[in-house]
């Protein structure tokens, strides 16, 4: 199934994306030369720690960058159209209709003064030109699909009457109501409890099959991503450092950061020995690191890592990594 879609080329292709924030403190390169391909019917995972540029990437795709942020270079191509070049008016037609997005905080992502039903209908009416009645019908159907209990009643309720998990389901219903091709899910379960998280992840998996949807799933949690993603890209300090099939990433990490992340997660039944933690702190976005951006925290660092930045290179079919010493790391990680 995946091979078939690959033949048709990616649904969305990001090339050398540079998103910069011109803050008062200085230039922040929130995304600094990012390449990413998203295929239909696939879930692409984007993993990284806070401040690494995951969310900025998503907002760049949506064209919703907040104020001091600008795309300075690169292209985001959705089926032949470069989104960075489209005027706002055309982007509006794409947002919600072709690309939809759900956010981390279901608590604050819905407008408190409108019923949740109305908020879903609104997009349907705008994008599909349906009548209010038809839109209501579609909304009810969507509420059923996202497994909200008694959808008819829910539609007339306000956000504050729903729990966090239910609100996230409403957000999903809203996002999928216009049959988008791509759904961007930005940490959709981070604010929810584990037992609720499972339900949302299962729902996303189910809906992806039903709607042959492409999902860009953004999270900091390697555990969560392994439940949903087909491909995983690991991001560190505004760049992708490793990218491969999900299983491959976990079995064969080739970048010291990926390896370090995997090792530093405590495992149940893993005993009481110390966790192999990555030393040091997250990089300061205002101060760019010369050479490989991971070198100050890397156990494999050599002199040349301080000089030149490694490119994201394909080291095996479908497996790219940005490390000068990836071959040695592979040997040691086993």
């Amino acid at each position: 199934m995946r091979d078939e879609s690959k033949n048709n080329g990616p649904l969305l292709e990001i090339k050398n994306l540079q998103t910069h924030f011109f803050t008062n403190e200085g230039l922040v390169k929130a995304v600094d030369g990012l390449d990413l391909e998203i295929f239909s019917r696939e879930t692409s995972g984007l993993v990284g720690e806070s401040g690494c540029g995951k969310t900025v990437t998503a907002l760049s795709i949506m064209g919703l960058l907040p104020s001091p942020g600008k795309i300075t270079q690169g292209s985001i191509t959705l089926q032949g159209r470069d989104l960075t070049q489209l005027p706002e008016r055309k982007l509006q037609k794409i947002r919600g209709k072709e690309i939809a997005m759900i956010f981390q905080e279901p608590m604050t992502s819905l407008n408190p003064i409108f019923t949740v039903g109305h908020q879903v209908e609104e997009a349907i009416i705008f994008h599909q030109g349906k009548s209010r009645k038809e839109a209501r019908e579609i909304t009810r159907e969507m509420f059923g699909k996202v497994e909200l209990p008694s959808p008819e009643e829910r539609m007339n309720e306000y956000p504050h009457q729903l729990s966090g998990g239910m609100k996230q389901r409403v957000m999903i219903a809203m996002a999928l109501s216009c049959q988008p091709k791509l759904l961007i899910a930005d940490e959709p379960t981070t604010a929810l409890d584990v037992t609720i998280q499972q339900g949302i992840l299962a729902l996303l998996n189910k809906l992806q099959d039903e709607h042959s949807l492409a999902i860009l799933f953004i999270t900091h949690d390697l555990g969560v991503i392994s439940q949903v993603a087909n491909r995983i890209a690991v991001m560190y300090a505004a760049k992708i450092v490793e990218c491969a099939q999900a299983g491959e990433i976990f079995r064969n990490p080739h970048h010291p950061y990926t390896l370090g992340l995997l090792n530093s997660i405590p495992k149940i039944g893993g005993g009481e020995k110390r966790l192999p933690a990555i030393p040091g702190q997250l990089p300061n976005p205002l101060v760019p690191v010369k050479g490989c951006r991971f070198h100050p925290r890397c156990f494999f660092v050599k002199d040349y890592c301080l000089e030149k930045e490694p490119p994201l290179a394909e080291i095996a079919p479908g497996h790219k990594t940005a490390c000068w010493r990836h071959s040695e790391i592979k040997a040691q990680s086993n």
Binding site: T23, N24, S67, P276, I278, N284
Partner: protein, 327 residues
């Protein structure tokens, strides 16, 4: 190799906190970007200097500029005019001209303005000082001891909240007028009345601030460490509540200056012999068509001072509020 990956926490790399800036530096950097606020600060500085020198130059029995000299021959002279030749030498203005003209009694408006600057600014400061004092104490009590029950389930917070409600129900300016009409009128009474009718803002501010602070982890941590309550309130909570209160004060001062001016204008303000910007204006009111300069000087001075205070205060608020700061 695996063993080496175990990281001991002692081996922290050194280049970590790269923005090494004190709060003061950070504040100043944010503040000075706001050109309007900066201008406001400079103008305020100028007014303070003027008020201070004005205090010296108009003080005493024979001041450098005498605001009390009455010259009936030189009534309602326009600015920059020369005194009448009948004016005796000792009553002539300095430099031989009336810089801002004269009023209906031939008093030098410039000298009166100088004297008024001190009075107007000090009314502003003292009145707001009183407001803040009451507001901080009541607000602090309401915020910190909010849940303490007094009787029959009525909490401390309830009582103070009701008090604030009551204050808010009175039309402030009318209330001030009423009080000043009843109480013996002198400059201190005016400061006090403006002060005690204006504390609700500060109280609500401090109350909200203490409410949040009380539940902040660092305050709970202090309690967990067995730090005495008095020290928690004054060392941990007060300094953190002070910044917004300071801003409220800065923005409150021009309000008090305006109120005093309005009172003087209506004839309820600071009684003679003190000149204030308000009562200079009140005098000029009767001659607006014949001698408009009399109202222009105090009007413009009030306008500039209040404007600078507000701009400066807003700049402070912005620079002190981490939420408004763009990170």
């Amino acid at each position: 190799m695996k063993a080496k990956m175990v990281n001991s926490p002692g081996s922290q790399p050194e280049n970590l906190s790269l923005i090494h800036q004190t709060r003061g530096q950070e504040f100043w950097r944010t503040f000075k970007r706001n050109k309007l606020a900066l201008t406001g600060m400079v103008v305020l500085g100028f007014f303070f200097l003027t008020a201070l020198t004005g205090l010296f130059l108009t003080y005493g029995r024979e001041p450098f500029f005498n605001p009390r000299t009455v010259r009936l021959a030189d009534r309602l002279r326009p600015p920059l005019s020369r005194p009448h030749r009948t004016i005796p030498e000792e009553n002539r203005p300095r430099f031989g001209i009336y810089i801002l003209g004269t009023d209906d009694l031939g008093r030098d408006v410039f000298a009166r303005m100088l004297q008024g600057a001190v009075v107007s600014l000090s009314v502003g400061f003292v009145a707001v000082g009183i407001s803040l004092f009451i507001g901080m104490i009541l607000g602090g009590i309401a915020g910190y001891f909010a849940e303490v029950k007094l009787l029959k389930g009525v909490t401390v917070d309830d009582v103070i909240a009701r008090l604030i409600d009551i204050m808010l129900c009175f039309p402030v300016f009318f209330l001030i007028l009423t009080l000043i009409a009843i109480l013996p009128g002198n400059i201190w009474m005016i400061m006090i009345v403006i002060g005690i009718t204006g504390w609700t803002g500060a109280a609500r501010f401090v109350r909200a601030e203490f409410f949040t602070l009380k539940n902040q982890d660092f305050v709970i941590a202090a309690e967990a460490l067995g730090i005495p309550r008095r020290r928690i309130i004054f060392k941990h909570m007060m300094p953190n509540a002070l910044a917004p209160v300071l801003v409220a004060a800065i923005i409150g001062i021009p309000g008090a200056i305006l109120t005093e001016a309005a009172l003087s204008f209506l004839g309820f303000g600071v009684p003679p012999p003190h000149a204030t910007w308000g009562n200079i204006l009140a005098v000029g009111r009767r001659f607006i068509f014949d001698a408009p300069w009399i109202i222009f000087s105090p009007g413009a001075a009030i306008l500039l001072t209040v404007l600078s205070f507000n701009l400066f205060g807003e700049g402070l608020r912005e620079a002190l509020n981490p939420k408004l700061r763009i990170r």
